[in-house]
């Protein structure tokens, strides 16, 4: 008997991800990978997988899936409102950040993330996904990844490996960091901007707009004045770079960013604050705090201690 989930509703942006596809950026292929690394890894830990096992990432509204097959152990991480509908139609509210069992005919209805953007769905034993160049991450823009490089669609079947069972379900306690301060280091072209704009950037509030996805996050706030040149010679891009195009409004480059770009960069979000940043919803006002490499490195050590 083959085991699979049938996709009854795909959700807004449901894709398979892992920790990323590396070593190909010189050919224009960005690493991609999960947006929130902590929640991604945790979803795997809760079902006894290795942390890098491919999982389903969803944003805002997730999918409605129906299980056809043997009983499985799964977990959903994040702040997620979801229901489990058993085959008799009984609806039970689901508990996120806890592993639980699903049986043949059960449906899992991932309604929404709560005051956050991304959540993860993992299954014990892992999904059956085709690796492309060493990774199961999906880059929809270039159709790279499992599921033909696409988002989930209605009627898709998601196959998975035979579940490994744990003795008991696992859970973690987890809260998002409500603080809206994001730490960042000086960008390569920070000197392109007026002293006043540099100060503004690291002191004024910037609002996250709806023009935000896995590729980038557009912010709205005090216009940043470029005194040198609004373009630079195109150069490689790093995740978390904050570029300032001609209109003076910042764009933070996220996991699916273009591999090279020609806008000056004022700052770079530190690795330890990336998960926190990507979970902030449009309308949130964030502030950047300037830190140096030493602070960024010790913040990272603290961040990995959570794992």
């Amino acid at each position: 008997m083959s085991n699979y989930f049938k996709v009854l509703r795909p959700g807004i942006n449901s894709t398979f991800q892992d920790l990323g596809r590396f070593g190909l950026q010189h050919l224009g292929i960005v690493a991609s990978g999960c947006m929130d690394q902590f929640l991604f890894c945790t979803s795997n830990k809760l079902v006894g997988n290795k942390v890098s096992e491919g999982a389903l990432e969803f944003a805002y509204q997730g999918p409605l899936l129906e299980l056809a097959g043997e009983t499985v152990l799964v977990a959903i991480t994040g702040k997620v409102n979801f229901n489990i509908i058993n085959k008799n139609g009984e609806i039970k509210q689901g508990l996120s950040n806890t592993s639980f069992e699903l049986s043949n005919g059960d449906k899992i209805d991932i309604l929404s993330t709560i005051n956050s953007v991304y959540g993860y769905f993992s299954i014990s034993g892992g999904f059956k996904l085709k690796e492309i160049k060493g990774s199961v991450s999906t880059l929809v823009r270039a159709k790279i990844g499992p599921n033909s490089g696409d988002k989930l669609k209605s009627e898709d079947k998601i196959f998975f490996n035979k579940s490994k069972f744990l003795d008991k379900t696992k859970k973690i306690h987890f809260d998002f960091d409500e603080d809206n301060t994001i730490r960042a280091m000086k960008g390569l072209q920070i000197d392109y901007f007026s002293k006043k704009s540099q100060e503004d950037f690291f002191s004024k509030e910037y609002e996250i707009t709806r023009l935000t996805d896995r590729m980038g996050m557009r912010l709205k706030g005090k216009e940043l004045k470029n005194l040198v040149n609004k373009n630079i010679k195109s150069e490689g891009i790093t995740k978390g770079s904050i570029q300032i195009p001609g209109d003076g409004q910042p764009i933070i480059l996220l996991s699916d960013h273009p591999t090279i770009g020609g806008y000056p960069k004022i700052a770079n979000v530190i690795s330890a604050d990336y998960d926190k940043l990507v979970q902030k919803t449009p309308g949130t006002k964030i502030k950047f705090k300037l830190v140096d490499l030493t602070v960024a490195e010790s913040a990272f050590l603290e961040y990995v201690r959570k794992f």
């Binding site: 050919l27 224009g28 270039a142 195109s234 591999t259 770009g261 960069k265 770079n268 530190i270």
Partner: protein, 229 residues
Amino acid sequence: MLKKITNIGDCGIICDFGDEVNKETNKEVIQLFNFIKDSVKTKKIKGILNYTPSYNKLIINFELGKIKSKKIIDFIKNSDYSKTIFSQKNKIIEIPICYDEEFALDLNRMEEKTKLNFREIVKEHLNTDFFVYMIGFVPGQPFLGDINRNLYHDRLDTPRIKINKGSVGIVEKFCTIYTFESPGGWNIIGKTPLDLFDINKKKTSILSPGDTVKFKSITKKDLLYFKNE
């Protein structure tokens, strides 16, 4: 010459070869890029995730917690990569192109601007040995140069919303090939039926930074019947 190495964020460094955009500078970038790529492959250095050459810079991304930027910087400073071959192959890669008016959307404007006729523009383009400066923005998209000065042309004032895959475009001294349908502001002079990029192939991208490319004119009929291997 490598002018300076700077940290970008907490998991990247940028090797800066100066402000000039020319082949000589880019060849040095590609030399260091090939050296780093080989060093990663032969495990002379660990923890490097990506290396991205551009006209005059090389960005190296690494795994924070696995390696410190200082170690990579020292590794580069203490290495002699000037002997590294800068291209993987010496042969010229031929790319078929159809200049039929159906695809050459901007040839008329270019005729006006350059004061050359269609035939002369095509001839110049076909006679150029193009150097692959870098690949990116989207997967597989090459940035080729240098075009003869009399063909220089500015970017379109209003970019097109949709440019078809395979379109060949010119801006200033550079030529590009769109590997995906996308918006864009380049002056389109023709189309290639060749798939430069296929993620499912072992050799994902036909071109690598540092390669040499020459275009070969084909008819519209050749284009329609062209088979990608």
